[in-house]
Structures are given as structure tokens and as C-alpha cells.
Symmetry: C2
Subunit: 560 residues, 2 copies
């Protein structure tokens, strides 16, 4: 009799991003996806957010495989950090479809980890073994080529993790989601379906990616000046369709933005992108062509501060200056949370006099995630015993659960989980196991660390009200002040005309020190910590009374 | 012959918020609206954003009147700051319709300015004089009672500033926008129309406020547990409709949130709100009633961090604990920029198990700003010679300008302006004048100040990477170090295990000081500033090499 099967989400539940799922049996583990999330505005100075993978620490020997479903950052982005933090000696093999494998290698190389890791390409429908598990990729259509779901065969039955998918019947590469294999999984008897919930709030089915091309062509037809199209750099089929529209309208294309150029190169190398000879021009050649013979494909569809388009909108891009007559097409929708940045970019473009076309004006964007009818179709095809919605905030997990109910899954067999809650399955059924550590860890510069880090709390305080540093020199013997205290402040506004206040502050400091000096004189003995605390409190009170703000106050005592 | 007429927007153009317009003739001025804006996430620690009203500084004697069109913060919120900063001695009278006047008084009282200012109530259609101007309020329908447009009569003709408006044909208070007076303005010959552009991007006309009531009732009918409705506290007619739905369904109402209670009280006092006796219960009485006999009206529709609903969603509200079975209705849409905060609130509510109904699920919200057909109707009614769109980001100003063209205004007579650009009109026509100072000023604690303030740049640096403070004690004579330097850091992560780094840092500091001590020995003379600069650079370089971050480095030299 084999042991319990555990399916443990470490990321992607109750949130959008940093997807990571652990599957464990008989002490052996496969990890599906290692994604990251971008920090929100309140995560001051944080570069990236990773799933807390503490559960896997010290278990390097138990991890048989890491499988990456596709090349988006929320599925692949944490890979270098997972490798570096968890597998200092020997790493498990990383499996992926060809494009995803290429992207994984490119990431590992950036982190100087490529030599340490074996990245193994797998074709779909060709199962392989990893410890007690059998693994198999199943092709799905999504907004990046080579996207896959993963079948994990276990002693208790098969699990299917969908990855990100839609049932696009006319994908640009002619390869729809492999419904035959999904149906087969259903007939074979699927134990558990872990399905993408991203669009569980949208009715109907997502528009086909290939429906975008004709709309782009139409939009191109109306433009007399330059055209700029911004989209996700990894959406290689979209880039192809922009190229196709440019061919039809006799425009050269220029690629601006580092990730756009890199993904174009990878896509071309692997045969996912075709552009006729001589069609791609360099950014610096743009001005050599008439406006109506140029199409720029650029990054910045999310209003990212340093992206190509944002810099153009701010008139701050070295290679291209936008002007009235240019048309900027947003072939992308703002990811939730990016609305303000996108709107700001659009407004700057209006100010310049450019024409702006967004997905609200014309159907020039299609989501890569299936809508409600597709989520239901996935369940009906694969006929799972158990359903566990993944990839979504709580709202979407709830809505996906309801869809599962609607298509006839027993409510008791639908599991609304959270990061860190394992689903445990054995011959007696499935149930929620004991919670394990989970959450966020932060990448900050070179280091990876805990969310509890006090640094972030300090940064918040510093960012709200700035910092006051008071350096007091006191005699070691008498405890009396030697000379005037020094006061330094940063991030405290309106101090230019505050000489009076600074003078008063120095008097406050002087009084603090003198108070304690008396105790020293009375031989009561004063610890430096006591003086520091008193100084801190007196200065903080003074500053609050004068400014109604609470900057960080740092007293430094120099004893001589 | 009278002098040029200037219409100078100081706020509300190229942005949403902080509306303020100056009208000037023969050196005399009226100010229409004194609005504020709420800070964005990158304005660290800033409390409020005001229009830069530097243009008015030193001209207290010239300002004949301040007119407030209605009681929303983006029109009235800067009033106490304008009064305090510009009119230290005698203030001009503030004119407004009754509810707006009451709200102005309440604000001035909070700032202890009520005694200094004469707030004068004016009824619509009863003109009065202010210096060389005649002024008149015209009733418009909006999402707050007593909203008005303003007619400013000048020697060159009349200007109409619409305020915020919609052409609601069935407003809850039975008082639609005064189309008769608008038509009259048109027949009399209007010189200039300054119109609200907020919804210039929406086709058709805005739904009537009174269409919301029946949908609220329907939504109420489906609820078996408690109902919570969140909306803008100032939307007094919406609150009335929630009360009406509660009456129909036999529910008591409880008001939670300071501004909700305050506006309810003002609305009731002025006769805009009617609730039957005994219907309003205290928050602490909620548990005394069965769930299906309670409706809570609360603040938090924008996901504001400290609002009632946000705290309930975080299970952190003293008076009410939400549970499965509760229904939360968002009778409001997220203001652009608030999407993430609203989504976070909604997701927490889903996590708790509450049912959430938003304006996407049912038509339980109507905008207070007219859509495209209404903006066109306003122009057709008032037949202005010149049009100047106000209240909108650049996108909306452009779209509003196009609407004016569509209804037949000569493109040369449509002025797309910016804050700080005056429109100048005399007998020869209208043209854009010379730019004056404009922009944002910040409220931070007790103080009001300039955006250029270095404090914000410092806060940004502190918030990204924290601060390192190095205190070195050196001999005044020899320049040599006395004792070990002290190193303090805040907001720098992952330093718990960084003893090695701190030791190395102290060595770096020691070397810096020793280097310069040699120069002292050679009698070259070293200024303290030189030592400080060298220390700063050496420490910054060391920290960057070790952490790849650039915290603020503050060296302090204590000479003894």
C-alpha cells in the first residue's frame, strides 16, 4: 500500500501570480512551475516577490523534477532563485517544452546557474518517469507558444494541472489545445484537476488569437503616419500578427525594448516567428523611412516606468520622438493594478497629440486565459473525481468552484484551497491537510528573504515622514554634553526656513542630556541605552508637536 | 474700453481633481472652486495635493469672491488652505448654494478658520455683483444635492462654468439641470463655456440616479442575510435610495464610517434625507436584530485603507464582524487608480464567504457626470462663442474638444488649455496668453509646500533602499580615528546575519579616515567636508558592491 498523496499549492492561490505547486508521495516530490509576482506599490524598494518555498528546504534529495508549463514570469520567473536557494549542490532536472526550456536556460544563464542545471526538453504526449511519478506534457493554447498542461501519474491516479490555457479553435500556430488527450484523460479516469481560474469571472469564451490579425489590419488601414504597437513581449503570435499586418500595408518593422528584441530573437530561432528578409529595421533607421512605411513594436503595454513606450510618452526615449500623426495601438489590456500607469501613459500620448487605439476602441487584444464556458469544458472533458481551482484570487477560486458545481461535480469533491494548505488523497478519499508555512519572500538586490523582515517596516516609516538623526557628544565621566549636538534630517519637508525649530531642537537635546547628567553626578549611573531612549523620546515628542509628523528618530551618543 | 479678460485654470486640466479656475478683469479676480486631489502612491507620506495658487499670492485685495460649485472634495477641499495661505488678514466672501455652504463651514471650522471667513449662501437665478463681475448660480444635477454651474458676467460677455453636471431628467430630488436658464444663456449670447469633461470618453447619456433605486430593491429582494451597502458618503440621494429600499424590505439601517454619519446628519438637517422614526439604529445595536432586518450603509467603496468596509474585510472592525451569508453591495465604481484597492477589498470579502454585488453584476451605480451626448447637449443649449473643456485629463479634454467640433463650434474657437495657461479675451478675439506658475503643492502634516521640495526625493531614496549612518570620531589635531566608528542602518534588509559585512564596513571607514589623517600629518589640512565626502563615497561604494543597493549614506564626523 502506498502512502498519502499530497498536492500542496505554495503560490498562485488567493492571488494572481507566483504560481507553484508541490506534488508529493512516499516522500518524493515534483514541483510544477516556479513563478514570481511583481511587487505592489507598498512593497517599497522590493524587486520581485517569490513564493515562500520553505517547505522544500533541506529536501533537495527528495525533489525528482521541476516542470515548467510555459514561459511567462508568473510560472518560470522564480526558477533561478529556487535553484540557488534550495539546491546548493545537486539540482533536480528541469523539464519543459522547447520554447519554455530555451527561456529557462536564458534565465539561468543570466544568474550564472546554467552550468549547474540540466534543462531537459520534452515533447507533448511522451511520458517519462521521475521517481514514483510519471510525467507528461499536454499541449494547450495560450498567449505564448509551447504552453502545456502537465499530467502527473501517481499510485492513487492521475492529476492534471492545466497550466494557463484557452480553447482557441483557431490559434495562430494551428495547434489548438489537445482536446483528444484531455478526453482520453477523462476516459482513463482522472483523479484530480487543478485548473487555471484567471478568467473565471468572464462569461462566454475568449476570442481567438487569430481574430486579432484582421482587426489589426483594419486599424493599420486607417493610419497615415507612423504606427506603434505595444504588447507583451512574450506574446510571440501577437508579434507575428503585427508583422503580418505590416507586410500587408507595406511597413517595415522596428523592435524597441530589451525583452521585445530578446523574445523576437528566441521566437525566430525556434521557428515561431517569420519576418521576410529586409523587413526588420534598426530603431536608428526609423527616420530613414516615410512615416507611413514604419511600424514600431515596443514594450510598455503595462505603463512600466522604464519601458520603451513610457519613455516615449514622456519624451525621454533616445531613439524615437513621438509627434502628432503617430498612432499608438495598445494590443494588450492592463493587468489588474496597472490601470493607473497605463492611463498615465495614454494621457501623455494624448498630450503629445498622438492617436491612441486601445482594446476598448477596437478588438485588438485577446486574453490568453479561457473564460467561463472554457473552464466548464475543461472539467467536462477531463471528468475529474476531484477539482481544485488554482491560479486566481479568492474571488476567482470561488467562481471557478461554482462552475465545477454547475457541471455536476459533487460540492464535497471541490476543494477551495489556499497557499500552504495541502490536499491529501489516499484510498479513503481526499481532505485538507495541516497548513504548512507559505507566503511571500522578497528579492531585494542580491538577497532573498522573509516578508517579516523589519526593513520593510522601517522603509515605510522612512518613506512617510523621513528621518531625524541626533548626534550628541557627552563626557564619559560627567555625562555632560560636549559642544552642540548635531542634527541631520532627510525626507522631512519644509525645513529650509526652520532654523528656529532646529535651534529649539538643540535646546531640547541639551536639556535631555543635562537631565541625565544630574543623575550621573548623583552617582546613580546612567546606561548609554537609557540616555539614548530618553533622547529618542524627547526629540520625537518635540518633532511631533512642531510638525504633527512622526519621522524616524535616531539618537547617536558619542562618549569621549 | 475695459481691459482684457483672463480665464486661467490653476487646476483640473490634464488631471482629474483639484479643480480651480481664476477669472480676472481690470486687475480684479473671482475664483471658481478650490479643489484638492488625493496623493498617488509615489507621493510618499503626502497627505493631500492642492493646486499651486502662487498666481494669487499677494493679491488678497484683488480677489472679490470665491465661488464653490458643489461640495465634493475636488471642488471644495482646498478652501481652508487657500484661505490660510492667501488671505492672512481679510478674506474675500465665499459664495455657495446652501448644502455646499454648510459643508464649507464645516471644513473651515475643522481648520479653526470659520470666524475669519464669511460664507454666503446664494440661491440659484439670483445674481449678485462682485467687483466688476456679476455672478449667478444655475442649478445642475449631479451626485450631490445643491450642485451648481456659475455664470460670470464680464465687460466682454458672460462665461458659464458648468461645474460637475449631468442632464438627469428624473433626479431623486425632482430638480433636473435648469435647461431653461441654459437655453436663455444661449439666446443672450454666451461668450465662453467651460465644461466638465470627466465622461467625455463615454458614449450616450448617463443613467438617471433614480433608476438605481429599483435595482437596489431587486438586489435587496434576493438577500436573506445582512446587507451592507457602500457608496460615496456625499452621494446623499444614493443614501436616500438605500434607505427607501430598506423600508420596502423591512430592514433597519445602521451608518458606519465618520463621513457617512456626518453627511447623513447634514443631509437630514437640510431636508435632503428622510428616514422614518426609529429606523436608524446604532452600530452596536446591529446584533440585536435578525440578519434579514438589517442594512448597514458604510464608507469604503474605494477600498480606502482605514475605511469601515476595508477594516470589516480585514476582520478588523470593532463594531461588526462579517460572515458567510452577508451581502456587500458596491453602489459605486472605483475611481481610476483605486482599482487595486477595491479589488483587494472584494477579494477579502470573498475569502470571508460574503456575497459581493458590484455595478458589474447589477445596475446599482450611476455616474454623476454627463456622457458624450450630454456634453454635446450642453454646448447646443448654451451656444457659446468659445469653448474651453475643463475637469479632465488630456485624453478627456481632447475628446471633449472633438465633441465641440462635432456640434459645429469653429475649431479655432475651441481652446485645449493646460493648468497655468490663461485664455485671454478682448474685443479682437480670444487667444492663449503667457504661461503662469502652476502645478501641485503638497500638504504634509501641518505644512503646505512646493512639489520641488527635496524631501520627497529623499523619501523615495530612503523608501527604496533604506539608510546607513556612519558616525566617526576623529582627533581634531591629528585627524586620526578615536575608537571604532558606529554604524547604524534602517530599512536595509537581511542584515541580521551580516556581522561580517559590518566588520568589513568598519575597516573601510577606518581606512578612509586613516588616508586623510596622513594628509593632516603632512600638514595639508583637511576640511571636515572633505572627510565627509570621502567617507560617503567609500561607504556607498562598499555597500553597493556587497548588496547591489544604493541606500542613503549619511556620514557624521565628531571631532574631539
Amino acid at each position: 500500500m502506498s502512502g498519502k498523496l499530497r498536492v500542496l499549492p505554495l503560490g498562485g492561490l488567493g492571488e494572481i501570480g507566483k504560481n507553484m505547486t508541490v506534488i508529493e508521495q512516499d516522500g518524493k516530490i515534483v514541483v510544477i512551475d516556479t513563478g514570481l509576482m511583481f511587487p505592489t506599490a507598498d512593497m517599497l524598494g522590493i524587486d520581485l516577490v517569490l513564493p515562500d518555498f520553505d517547505y522544500l528546504r533541506g529536501r533537495a534529495d527528495d525533489v525528482e523534477a521541476i516542470v515548467i508549463t510555459h514561459g511567462h514570469e508568473d510560472h518560470i520567473g522564480a526558477l533561478p532563485y529556487v535553484i540557488r536557494e534550495l539546491f546548493p549542490e545537486e539540482t533536480p532536472p528541469v523539464y519543459a517544452a522547447p520554447l519554455t526550456a530555451e527561456m529557462a536556460r536564458s534565465k539561468l544563464e543570466e544568474h550564472k546557474l546554467l552550468d549547474a542545471v540540466e534543462v531537459i526538453e520534452r515533447d507533448c504526449l511522451e511520458p517519462w518517469d521521475a521517481g514514483p511519478f510519471s510525467l507528461e506534457l499536454v499541449h494547450v493554447s495560450h498567449s505564448i507558444p509551447d504552453a502545456c498542461g502537465v499530467v502527473v501519474g501517481t499510485d492513487h491516479g492521475s492529476i492534471f494541472l492545466t497550466g494557463d490555457y484557452k480553447f482557441d479553435q483557431t490559434p495562430v500556430d494551428g495547434q489548438p489545445t489537445d482536446m483528444s488527450r484531455l478526453a482520453e484523460l477523462g476516459s482513463e479516469g482522472l483523479l484530480l484537476l487543478c485548473g487555471d481560474s484567471t478568467n473565471a469571472d468572464r462569461a462566454g469564451i475568449a476570442p481567438s488569437e487569430s481574430s486579432i490579425g484582421p482587426h489589426l489590419e483594419e486599424a493599420f488601414a486607417r493610419c497615415e503616419g507612423r504606427i506603434l504597437v505595444t504588447s507583451f513581449a512574450s506574446n510571440i503570435h501577437r508579434v507575428q500578427q503585427v508583422i503580418d499586418a505590416s507586410v500587408v500595408h507595406g511597413r517595415k518593422i522596428a523592435l524597441i525594448g530589451r525583452s521585445m528584441r530578446r523574445n523576437f530573437a528566441i521566437g525566430r530561432k525556434l521557428g515561431h516567428i517569420y519576418a521576410p528578409d529586409g523587413m526588420v529595421i534598426k530603431p536608428k533607421e526609423i527616420d530613414d523611412y516615410p512615416d507611413d512605411e514604419v511600424c514600431v513594436i515596443c514594450t510598455g503595454s503595462q505603463g512600466e516606468p522604464l519601458s520603451a513606450l513610457r519613455r516615449m510618452a514622456n519624451n525621454d526615449h533616445g531613439q524615437i520622438t513621438l509627434h502628432s500623426g503617430d498612432t499608438v495601438m495598445f494590443s494588450a489590456s492592463p493587468v489588474p493594478g496597472n490601470e493607473r500607469a497605463v492611463n498615465e501613459t495614454i494621457d501623455r500620448l494624448f498630450h503629445i497629440g498622438a492617436t491612441v487605439v486601445t482594446a476598448k476602441d477596437a478588438p485588438i487584444h485577446a486574453s490568453g486565459h479561457g473564460y467561463r464556458e472554457e473552464l466548464k469544458m475543461m472539467i467536462n472533458l477531463t471528468k475529474p473525481k476531484y477539482v481544485m481551482p488554482i491560479h486566481g484570487d479568492f474571488q476567482r477560486l470561488v467562481l471557478h468552484s461554482r462552475l465545477a458545481e454547475e457541471v455536476g461535480i459533487d460540492p464535497d469533491d471541490i476543494f477551495r484551497m489556499e497557499n500552504g494548505l495541502p490536499l491529501e488523497i489516499d484510498e479513503n478519499g481526499a481532505r485538507v491537510g495541516d497548513r504548512v508555512k507559505s507566503g511571500m519572500i522578497f528579492v531585494d538586490g542580491l538577497e532573498v528573504g522573509d516578508v517579516e523582515d523589519v526593513a520593510l517596516r522601517d522603509r515605510r516609516m522612512l518613506s512617510n515622514d523621513g528621518v531625524f538623526i541626533v548626534v550628541a557628544t557627552v563626557s564619559e565621566q560627567s555625562g555632560e554634553a560636549i559642544g552642540d549636538p548635531e542634527v541631520i534630517f532627510r525626507g522631512v519637508p519644509f525645513m529650509d526656513d526652520a532654523d528656529d525649530m532646529l535651534d529649539d531642537l538643540k535646546i531640547t537635546v541639551g536639556t535631555s542630556i543635562a537631565d541625565l547628567a544630574k543623575k550621573v553626578k548623583n552617582s546613580e549611573g546612567v546606561a548609554e541605552s537609557e540616555l539614548r531612549e530618553k533622547l529618542h523620546n524627547d526629540v520625537a515628542r518635540f518633532v511631533y508637536e512642531r510638525t504633527k509628523r512622526r519621522p524616524m528618530v535616531l539618537p547617536v551618543i558619542v562618549e569621549v
